[in-house]
């Protein structure tokens, strides 16, 4: 009988949840920057994308 040695390292639930929270925070920050920030320069640069995605604009 051969034992297949797995090199796979699993991560714990708390690590997975932490990673998920980091992903959500990173994504939400980017969404805020592109879609919601009231800064004039950011608004002007992302203007057409804001309208196309359906972000509330103006």
């Amino acid at each position: 009988m051969t034992i297949v040695k797995s090199t796979t390292q699993t991560i714990s639930v708390s690590q997975r949840v932490t990673a998920g929270a980091i992903c959500l925070f990173l994504g939400a920050s980017l969404v805020f920057l592109v879609g919601m920030s009231h800064m004039g320069v950011v608004h002007n640069a992302a203007h057409d994308t804001r309208h196309s995605i359906g972000f509330p604009c103006h």
Binding site: V13, A19, V34
Partner: protein, 234 residues
């Protein structure tokens, strides 16, 4: 490994956002440019009115804005690439938090759930609007928009994960609640922008978003598959 997963999700989203940027360039941006002609023509009149008439679309004169042409196309595409990356990394975050893996096989379903939560549900209250169209208070709309996405997403999660009747009833309530409360509306819908242009814009943006979200789901499934054994073991 988590760093690599986040990077894979970002790249998957950037690729989807880049393709979306191409669709935008041919289908939605031309309609925005057409609407701006009407918006600018109506502008002197808009200043005469009190607040509440067509939202004054000020490009904050003293602030930098891309010039029409390649500058505007570039900054729009860049914004779309970032948006794609943002949506993808958030979808990956939901997958990690809930322990439901995104695979090449179910990626499209994940993408469609994102489309329902981020495009369809908020769009029912706040239809995609062209420049020069009247709109309610900006901050109220942003709050309603974010809250609707969270409530709809939570409702979809409950439907996906639970089979018990009370949970399903809660899901329906979460999805319906923002629409019962209602989105902030402008005092009037009168605008110089032709209705046909607005209708075409709404239809095209929703279709383009469907493509964006499908690609985000599919690309995420492909990009994160090799991590799933390690991540969803627990």
């Amino acid at each position: 490994m988590i760093g690599r997963l986040v990077l894979a999700a970002l790249i998957a989203g950037m690729a989807a956002g880049f393709i979306y940027g191409g669709i935008q360039h041919v289908r939605t941006t031309p309609l925005i440019l057409a609407a701006e002609v009407f918006e600018n023509a109506a502008k002197p009149a808009a200043h005469e009115h009190a607040a509440g008439t067509p939202s004054q679309h000020e490009h904050a004169a003293e602030e930098w804005a891309p010039n029409d042409g390649w500058q505007r196309t570039f900054s729009t595409t860049l914004a779309s690439v970032i948006t794609g990356a943002a949506f993808a990394v958030m979808l990956a975050g939901v997958s990690l938090l809930t322990g439901l893996p995104i695979t090449p096989r179910n990626g499209l379903v994940w993408g469609m759930c994102g489309f329902l939560a981020v495009t369809v549900a908020p769009g029912a209250g706040l239809a995609p609007e062209l420049p020069g169209m009247p709109a309610g208070d900006l901050v109220s709309r942003q709050i309603w928009w974010v809250a609707t996405i969270i409530a709809t997403g939570a409702g979809i999660f409950l439907i996906a994960k639970r089979r018990e009747l009370p949970w399903l009833a809660a899901a329906v309530a979460l999805i319906a609640l923002p629409h019962i409360i209602g989105a902030p509306q402008p005092p009037t819908h009168e605008t110089a922008v032709p209705a046909g242009l607005a209708a075409s814009f709404a239809a095209n943006t929703i279709a383009a978003s469907a493509v964006l979200w499908s690609l985000i789901g599919l690309f995420l499934g492909l990009a994160t598959e090799r991590f799933s054994k390690e991540i969803y073991a627990t």
